[in-house]
């Protein structure tokens, strides 16, 4: 089943380089000083006029900490609410018989097929009506960013699969011990689906942290910008100063790279088999 090892390595090294090259090129540009032509042919991958001035310059002009903070608040609460609401909704769907179960099941399944992009306009009108926009205040602004993504049908089905795989005997034992449904959920079932919760948390976090369309629709105040909106805005502030734009972009991806590298086994080992999102 082996393909020639040398050929495999050559192909994979090439693809790996192509995968990271755009980021390396941004880093290279961000480290070049004013004395070096960033448009030089042939291009210099190693900066000739090495400097960190672009970083200090862009850091002084743009409030990155504010963007980080906003993104962190939005991502944190989006993850927490998704974990809670998705697993809560998944529990009766996986474990109980009740009137209207089929209706609830198919209603949730239907929302998996509705793309957010097709309903974003009414969602925006609803958010306006509820006054959950940044001009009304930071709390309202955060809520407007969080609530439309606070639960996903995808998450509910992911958790339902996890609950289905737990043997019924676990619950029966808990019932004999005198547990009620609420205790069974929090004390017996949730601890057993921790790996799935971790996967849901990680993928929800990545999605929320990188989300661009929705925040760019609802946000109007710069102090409420999340990272992607703020980074896109750099293009407007520094028009063609690519040294600053590159430095700002590099600053913005450090947290997510650290996050990815420390949790990489969740991403690349195929443990996330169930986490396929259309």
């Amino acid at each position: 089943m082996k393909i020639k090892p040398v050929l495999s390595h050559i192909l994979l090294i090439t693809v790996s380089i192509l995968s990271v090259f755009p980021f390396l090129w941004l880093i290279s540009t961000s480290l070049k000083g004013g004395a070096e032509n960033i448009f030089a042919y042939p291009p210099n991958f190693i900066p000739q006029d090495f400097t960190l001035e672009n970083y200090t310059g862009v850091w002084a002009k743009v409030d990155f900490l504010k963007y980080f903070f906003n993104s962190a608040v939005v991502a944190f609460f989006t993850v927490i609410l998704n974990l809670l609401f998705s697993s809560m909704a998944a529990y009766p769907l996986a474990r109980m018989e009740f009137k209207g179960k089929r209706i609830a099941f198919f209603a949730i399944l239907a929302t998996i097929m509705i793309p957010f992009q097709a309903v974003m306009l009414p969602v925006y009108l609803i958010i306006l009506n509820l006054n959950l926009i940044d001009t009304a205040g930071p709390i309202q602004g955060y809520l407007g960013l969080i609530l439309p993504f606070a639960v996903s049908a995808f998450g509910i089905f992911l958790m339902r699969q996890a609950f289905l795989s737990i043997p019924k005997e676990m619950e029966e034992a808990a019932i004999i011990d005198g547990c009620n449904s609420i205790q069974i959920f929090f004390k017996v079932l949730l601890p057993m689906v921790k790996p799935t919760l971790a996967i849901l948390a990680i993928f929800t976090f990545i999605g929320s942290w990188g989300e661009f369309l929705w925040p760019s629709i609802v946000l109007s105040e710069e102090k409420m910008f999340t990272l992607p909106v703020g980074i896109n805005n750099l293009q407007g502030i520094f028009s063609s100063n690519w040294r600053y734009i590159a430095a700002g972009s590099v600053i913005s991806i450090i947290p997510i790279i650290v996050f990815f590298l420390s949790l990489q086994r969740y991403f690349i080992t195929g443990q996330n088999e169930g986490a396929v999102k259309g």
Binding site: K2, P5, S8, L12, V15, S16, S19, P22, F23, W25, L26, Y41, P43, S86, M88, A89, P92, M96, F105, L109, T111, M113, I114, P115, Q117, A118, V119, M120, L121, P122, V123, Y124, L125, I126, L147, V151, A153, F157, N180, F185, G210, F212, L213, S216, I217, P228, N232, Q235, S252, F259, F260, Q264, F267, I268, G270, Q271, N272, E273, V276, G278
Partner: protein, 290 residues
Amino acid sequence: MYKFFGKYVPYLFLVPALVLLGIFFFIPFVQTLGLSFYDYSENLYNPVFAGLGNYFTVFKDPVFIKVLLNTFVFLVVVVPFLTIFPLFLAILVNQKLRGMKLYKVLIYLPVVVSIVVCAIAFKWIYAEHGIFNYFLSVFGLNPVGWLTDTRYSLFSVALVTIWKGIGYYMVIYLAALMSVPEELYEACEIDGANSWQKHLTVTVPHLIPTIALVSTISAISAMKVFAEIYVMTKGGPLNSSKTIVYYIYERAFENLDLGMASAMAVILLVIVLILSAINIFCFERDKYRI
């Protein structure tokens, strides 16, 4: 207290999710249909009922026809590539050789980085005096306006979508490869097949359901492409890289033509609904069985 709630327990657990999905999916879904029957183009605050008028307007709009065509071309470019190439990579990276973990991490990296930064990085590569034009000059070719030439802009955007998606689909294939029984390869080896023949006769047929799954989910996400276009081209030049979600965004939030935007949203909805239904009822049936 528990006795009192007893038979309501399932509903209590479902309420938060159903309320949120109701407010942010069902009501907007109905509203999108409703808005699409009203004409907002004359007066934003006093729309008039137009029946199917917006749909006629949409299909008579040359920009929308262009946008539909662009979206179709985008799909035709992106989907086959994201379906086939990640499978090839997954087979390569699934071997027991040194360094495979590092390759997986590096190839997956673009998946986790915000699309905005990815698009900015490519904008820099596509620049007039950027890296791509340098490579052309090495071969004595004239520079190309990767994002500013109507002939290339859509394909330049598609390349970013492909580049960012490869790792994601590779991992889906990796998970599926684990389920291919080892004995099948051994049987093949006895027949004297070489490694490529083995993968063609064993791996690929075994992975047909996954290949079908990847092709539909990559098609669904290609239908929704937005950020790459917003950051790199704003749909230009001359609408050459404008796809359906970008045009809906433009009509809804820049031109405030809510009726026409909603009619286009309904068209998007129908297309994605069909793709999702294929996916759910054919390829992921087990996951969605009540």
